[in-house]
């Protein structure tokens, strides 16, 4: 029951819904950047939504299956192939032992999620299997996967496994699929000039009116040195408020920080727990998955909404997701 890494890809890490409750010790949250695709991939193979998946970044890995497995890929399109044959995303597939699972470059979106029915047999650290790269713990040995790594898998538990997964896993040979799939429009990928919604940040009022007006509307481009810690944006420089740095305090994922250069940095899943730049705005939780799918070079614009609107959008999306999850459970249940 294992998965062998033949080619690591650009950055392949084990992630779940993050490590919560330890930020007061400086422990970062980590977790899947695109939480929606992660949850959908898990739902498709009958896992709990906080089971670990592999997060593949921009250029995916090549993996060899040590056992029969039911898998699902969601998120960015990375030209997934099983023994050379295209593997469709957004639907579960039974893949036989010995199969080579190959991913290419992301063409739409930046991150894909690979879920395995049963999940990965890795110990949770402080309640999570997410990789804490900066701390060197969690996930697989606290680091990104490398060539030659063998990742142990858990077998799906009969009791908790949907019937379609059981049926699939009994398919005689080769790759097998159920007759249905989830519409990929359930989890939108960014378009050119994607609009990202944000709410006013903690230091919003200390920025000049002009800066506040400029922020929403002008185009920004994602720079090359953007990563899981933060997205560095390039565009119209925003005037930092007088006084410059603020006292370091607890930060939020999605915080749009304005350093003295005026080029904003959006904090992402691997952000430090605290920070000392003024926070102009915070990306709405409902749009963090979209933000996470932006690749270096992509353009975006910010649109300002209220916290109330943000919560309403989030609740509406969760209702939609719950309907999809219900439909999935109903399949052959």
């Amino acid at each position: 029951m294992s998965l062998r890494v033949e080619r690591a890809g650009l950055l392949t890490t084990v992630q779940d819904l993050g490590r919560h409750g330890f930020q007061h010790l400086g422990v970062m949250v980590n977790g899947a950047m695109d939480e929606l695709s992660h949850r959908m991939a898990n739902a498709l193979v009958g896992n709990a939504e906080d089971d670990a998946t592999l997060e593949l970044t921009l250029s995916g890995p090549t993996l060899r299956l040590g056992c029969d497995a039911v898998i699902a890929v969601c998120g960015a399109d990375m030209d997934a192939r099983v023994d050379g044959q295209p593997l469709p995303s957004w639907r579960p597939a039974r893949v036989p032992a010995g199969a080579r699972l190959e991913f290419g470059r992301a063409t739409r979106g930046a991150r894909a999620y690979l879920a395995m029915a049963g999940g990965f047999d890795l110990p949770p650290v402080m309640g999570s299997r997410s990789t804490a790269q900066r701390g060197g713990f969690g996930g697989f040995r606290g680091r990104a996967l490398r060539r030659g790594d063998v990742i142990p898998l858990r077998s799906p538990e009969e009791a908790h496994t949907p019937r379609w997964v059981r049926l699939l896993s009994r398919a005689r040979r080769g790759v097998a699929y159920p007759s249905w799939s989830v519409a990929h429009t359930e989890v939108p990928m960014p378009r050119e000039g994607q609009v990202i919604r944000a709410v006013p940040g903690r230091h919003w009022q200390t920025f000049t009116l002009k800066t506040r007006e400029q922020f929403a509307g002008v185009p920004y481009r994602v720079l090359l040195d953007s990563d899981r810690m933060g997205y560095r944006l390039e565009g119209l420089a925003l005037a930092a408020p007088r006084g410059g740095d603020v006292l370091s305090e607890g930060m939020a994922t999605g915080a749009v920080q304005v350093p003295p250069s005026g080029q904003p940095i959006v904090l992402m899943a691997d952000r430090a727990t605290t920070g000392g730049y003024p926070v102009l705005a915070v990306v709405a939780a409902v749009d963090l998955p979209l933000m996470a799918q932006l690749a270096p070079g992509d353009q975006l614009r910010f649109e300002l909404i209220t916290v109330l609107e943000s919560h309403a959008l989030l609740a509406a999306r969760e209702r939609q997701l719950a309907r999809t999850a219900e439909a999935l459970r109903a399949q052959l249940a």
Partner: protein, 229 residues
């Protein structure tokens, strides 16, 4: 702080009394968790309370998640004591200064027109106080640095800094608990571990703790490092 966190401000500057109130509030909220709250992060003068908006909305249908939580936090903080219950601990941390363990010691000395020995003496003299844990797991921001050795951060941060490195960044000093990038000036290294996820608690230093540095030689560093691993 956005749609999933709120910040309680206790003051606007680094101040021991304000910091203690922040710690007391964090301690209280961690000991008496509020429904929907996922993390409580004390800093110098502010407390950040992270929450799951969906969880709060589910518990209070028809209400506004942010207002509901703000009221709950305010009510809890009204009950919180002004000083933390936890008694601060004192630590004497051994540090091997200079050489290959403190690449920037000479530069820090030169910056201030001092000898490296002076920097070591001035760094070992004060009793520091842990103001907050942040940046990476177990990184303690220490207050109380002698301003005669306060040194601006490096223009270009290092890509990797060895675990245990003792450094000066502006008017603060601290220890890098794990190998990370960083922009502070490295003056020495401790063989102690500062953060181990499997330990209980995983952090060796906690907010409010007192720290003194004790200079040790290379030989003792190696011996202690072996004993620690």
């Amino acid at each position: 702080m956005g749609d999933s966190a709120l910040v309680v401000e206790f003051g606007q500057r680094v101040d021991a009394l304000v910091n203690r109130r922040v710690q007391a509030a964090a301690e209280y909220l961690l000991a008496h968790p509020l429904a929907g709250v996922t993390d409580v992060v004390p800093a110098y003068a502010a407390l950040t309370v992270h929450f799951d908006p969906l969880d709060v909305l589910r518990r209070h249908p028809g209400h506004q998640a942010f207002d509901t939580l703000r009221e709950a936090v305010a009510a809890a903080l009204a009950r919180a004591p002004a000083a933390p219950r936890r008694k601060p601990r004192s630590h004497e941390i051994p540090v091997c200064y200079g050489g290959s363990h403190g690449d920037d010691l000479a530069a820090v000395a030169e910056h201030h027109g001092l000898e490296p020995e002076d920097v070591i003496r001035l760094h070992c003299a004060p009793t520091y106080e842990v103001h907050l844990l942040g940046f990476v797991p177990g990184f303690a921001y220490l207050g109380g640095l002698d301003l005669r050795i306060a040194t601006p951060r490096r223009d270009v941060p290092r890509k990797v800094i060895a675990a245990g490195s003792v450094a000066i960044g502006g008017e603060q000093t601290g220890i890098y608990p794990s190998a990370t990038p960083g922009g502070w000036n490295l003056i020495g290294r401790t063989p102690w571990w500062l953060f181990r996820p499997e330990a209980d608690p995983p952090n060796r230093l906690a907010p409010g703790d007192r720290v003194k540095f004790v200079a040790i030689g290379v030989g003792e560093f190696e011996t202690l490092l072996k004993a620690a691993n």
